[in-house]
Amino acid sequence: MKSRGVFAVAWLSLAATLWVTPVDVYSLDVEQEREDSRVKALFITHLFSFISWPDGHQAERICATQTSTLSEVLEEVLATKPGLKVTLSVVSGEDRSALATCNIWLLEDVDDLIRLQTNRSLGPVLTIGDQQGFAERGGMIELARRSSRVTLIINRDHAEAAGFSISSKLLRLARIVRTSGARNE
């Protein structure tokens, strides 16, 4: 009788654990995403130190085509770094006039990138995205997740074609991709 009681308690504990676990995993994913976004946001703020804009321009305004965890965290990070004097705005990908005021695009979708690349009249714009294959498909800076780390993938051809000059220090850290799709470690 007694062993039956113990067995029943064990099964009940296991059941409770299995019931609670899905909730915790979810919380962990959100938290991980924010942490991941925070790292990416910090990376974005550090990029400005290693990338020179053409014609003496500077990074001034980041435009995000849609609100995301990254844009939110980035805004928070920028708020903690007033010295950067870089602002973040969320604009519609269709609002070309608003997009024209930005010299950095934070693109959540590769399609936005492809669509915007057709318009060359918007001037030198540094494109940043974290979707996989962003750099290979025409983006300049891709914040990729590799194992447990966030790494940089730079499409050097696109960046240089747009007149950007990327520091070798940054290039040494990043994975370089060519427009042709060939990767260069």
């Binding site: 790292v39 910090l42 990376f43 550090h46 130190s49 290693f50 940089l152 220090k169 040494r172 850290l173």
Partner: protein, 671 residues
């Protein structure tokens, strides 16, 4: 080289080498210290630049959180031979990236647990830390651990070279100092050697040869000049010494000649005087008329005076030569004083002068001293008073003066004579002093008496002085230390001996010659036969060795008075021959004789007595007119038992016979 110069050389060389060594050491030490500091700064500065450069290159890796990239960046430090380890730390102190170079040069891109702690243990490893900035934000710090071994090795090499330089510099300084010494101190050493040589050899003709034209040369020239002056003075001094030695030798020769002359003169004068005095002694014992008696007395008195004069001259000569000695023997004071009174009683009476002798009753009977010299001084003083006093009196006073601790006996002679004027009082005791230029003719005398008195009194430890008023009179006195005869201080005077007039022949002779009245009956020479009757007689064999016929005759006659008939020979050789042929109780041996003198003969007689047993108890008595100091002692040392001075006084002869024949087998007979 002498010790002083060697000391100076060593000191100069040591100082030069020491100063050089210290200076070089200080310079090299400072140089090494600066070099070490400079090289360390240089290395650390270079490392700091390198750290900043690497840190700057690693900034991207830091901000993009890529430690591997940072480590790769750090790996570029491997190209620097100085860096042992590079580490990047984040602002919170956590290690971001690190690499280490092994000692063999391998690069290990490993994250060690704590390699820095290991490096801290090495003194030659230094840490250089620089912050890593990016856009004004400190991303962390980079620390390079650099190996400064090469710096220390370089310093060690420099230190080794410095030691070589120090040694070479010190040696060079010592060598140069020695060279300098040889030029400066070397001549000084030579000069010093010459000084010592001159001092040791007293050869002032030496000179210091040099070629120096500096202060040393001046010193050498001055020394040479000084040597020249000393040499010149030395030569003059030697000349003066030579002259003085010649003069001294001449003076000594003169003194020896003088002494020899005096000795010879004494002998030569005494020899004939022996005949005169001896004859008078014999004549006293013959029957004479009153006129003959008068002539005889005059002859004897003159002879005695002549002897006194000779004695004075001899005494003065001895005093001048410092050879006069005084005796220190017991004597009876009153006997001495009475003999003086006896000596002058008659002459004073003849001049109509009263002559008093006052003796303090507190005076002891017996004293210790030289009675003969005391008597001589008194005779001189009283003789002077008698000579210069025409009327009045002469008084001799003997008393005690001074305290109990320093009692002295004072002999005073006071007269009422012509006195001494004040001008002459200062030179009274000078030699050859005369009261006035005419005094010699009026009063006679040599002028040596008072000078001799002063010397004698001084020799006896006393003082002599006088007080005189011209035409009133004079008082001469002398004080002598009171030295009593400790053996017989209270010896009573025996009536008829000490109190009786002395047996002094002078006194007796003068008394006999000058007075036929007012003198003791027993002292008068009225009955010479009586004298002969009173003389003791001996039955003894006497040998007389005498070369002078006169003296032979006198001695024979004198001995005949005592019943002795001597065997007379003319020289020492005959005496030796006679001595072996007959038995003798007494030998009277003249000193100076031809063929064999008395000393040699005495030696042979003594040898005969000892070896052959000839006349073993025979007494040998020397006879000589030699009256110089030390004669008696010399002849006694040469074997004689006793000694008689010529002219032979009959009383002294009698005393001698009593002394010498008393213990012999000779018989003493009385008439």
């Amino acid at each position: 080289m002498n010790r002083a110069v060697r000391g100076i050389r060593q000191q100069i060389s040591a100082i030069a080498a020491g100063v050089t060594a210290v200076v070089i050491a200080l310079v090299l030490f400072a140089q090494l210290a600066v070099s070490l500091q400079s090289n360390l700064h240089k290395v650390t500065d270079q490392s700091a630049v390198l750290a900043r450069l690497v840190g700057d290159n690693a900034a991207a890796a830091i901000v993009f959180q890529d430690p591997a990239a940072a480590t790769e960046t750090l790996a570029t430090l491997a190209r620097s031979p100085l860096v042992l380890l590079g580490a990047i730390e984040q602002p919170d102190g956590s290690l971001f990236a690190e690499f280490r170079v092994d000692e063999d040069g391998d690069i290990r891109l490993l994250h060690r647990s704590d390699p820095q702690a290991e490096l801290r243990q090495h003194f030659h490893v230094q840490a250089v830390t620089e912050p890593i900035w990016l856009d004004g934000i400190e991303l962390g710090s980079i620390t390079l651990w650099i190996n400064t071994w090469d710096v220390f090795a370089q310093i060690a090499t420099s230190l080794f070279l410095s030691l070589l330089i120090w040694l070479l510099g010190t040696a060079a300084a010592y060598f140069l100092a020695e060279r300098l010494n040889s030029r400066v101190v070397g001549p000084l050493g030579g000069l010093s050697n010459l000084m010592m040589q001159v001092s040791a050899t007293e050869d002032y003709s030496q000179r210091f040869d040099h070629k120096e034209d500096n202060e040393v040369g001046v010193l050498a020239d001055s020394f040479n000049q000084m040597l020249a002056q000393i040499d010149d003075r030395e030569k003059r001094l030697q000349e003066a010494i030579s002259d003085l030695e010649v003069a001294r030798d001449q003076a000594e020769d003169a003194a020896r000649s003088k002494s020899s002359f005096l000795a010879n003169m004494s002998h030569e004068i005494r020899t004939p005087m022996n005949g005169v005095i001896g004859m008078t002694s014999l004549l006293k014992r013959t029957e004479l008329t009153s006129q003959q008696q008068l002539y005889f007395d005059t002859i004897e008195k003159s002879g005695r005076s002549l002897l006194m004069l000779i004695d004075d001259i001899l005494d003065f000569t001895k005093i001048e030569a410092g050879r006069l000695e005084v005796k220190n023997a017991p004597y009876t004071l009153r006997e001495t004083l009475f003999s003086v009174r006896e000596f002058f009683d008659a002459p004073a009476l003849a001049k109509g002068l009263s002559f008093n002798l006052d003796i303090d009753n507190k005076l002891p009977r017996m004293l210790t001293g030289d009675s003969g010299r005391v008597r001589q001084v008194l005779l001189n003083l009283v003789g002077n008073s008698l000579k210069f006093t025409e009327q009045g009196k002469i008084a001799v006073t003997v008393s005690l003066v001074g305290g109990e601790l320093q009692q002295r006996i004072r002999f005073s002679v006071t007269d009422t004579g012509i006195g001494i004027d004040e001008d002459n009082q200062k030179i009274v005791f000078s030699e050859f002093f005369q009261a006035d230029s005419t005094s010699t003719r009026q009063f006679g005398g040599t002028g040596l008496g008072l000078a001799i008195c002063k010397q004698l009194v001084t020799l006896m430890g006393g003082k002599i002085a006088f007080q005189s008023t011209a035409n009133v009179g004079s008082t001469f006195w002398f004080d002598l230390p009171l030295v009593t005869d400790v053996l017989n201080p209270f010896l009573s005077l025996i009536p008829g001996t000490a109190e009786l007039p002395s047996s002094n022949p002078f006194a007796r002779a003068i008394a006999l010659g000058d007075s036929n009245e007012g003198t003791d009956e027993s002292e008068q020479g009225g009955s010479n036969a009586a004298n002969q009757d009173q003389s003791p007689r001996w039955d003894a064999r006497v040998l007389v060795a005498e070369d002078s016929d006169v003296n032979q005759f006198i001695i024979k006659e004198l001995l005949a008075v005592f019943g002795l008939s001597p065997v007379v020979v003319g020289n020492g050789k005959e005496a030796v021959a006679s001595f072996g042929q007959e038995a003798f109780d007494l030998v009277l041996m003249d000193i100076q004789m031809p063929i064999m003198d008395g000393v040699e003969a005495t030696r042979k007689l003594r040898a005969a007595q000892k070896s052959d047993g000839v006349n073993p108890e025979c007494i040998i008595v020397g006879l000589s007119a030699h009256a110089m100091a030390g004669d008696r002692e010399r002849y006694v040392e040469q074997g004689m038992d006793d000694y008689l001075t010529k002219p032979i006084d009959i009383d002294e002869l009698e005393a001698l016979l009593k002394r010498t024949l008393r213990s012999s087998s000779a018989l003493m007979l009385w008439r």
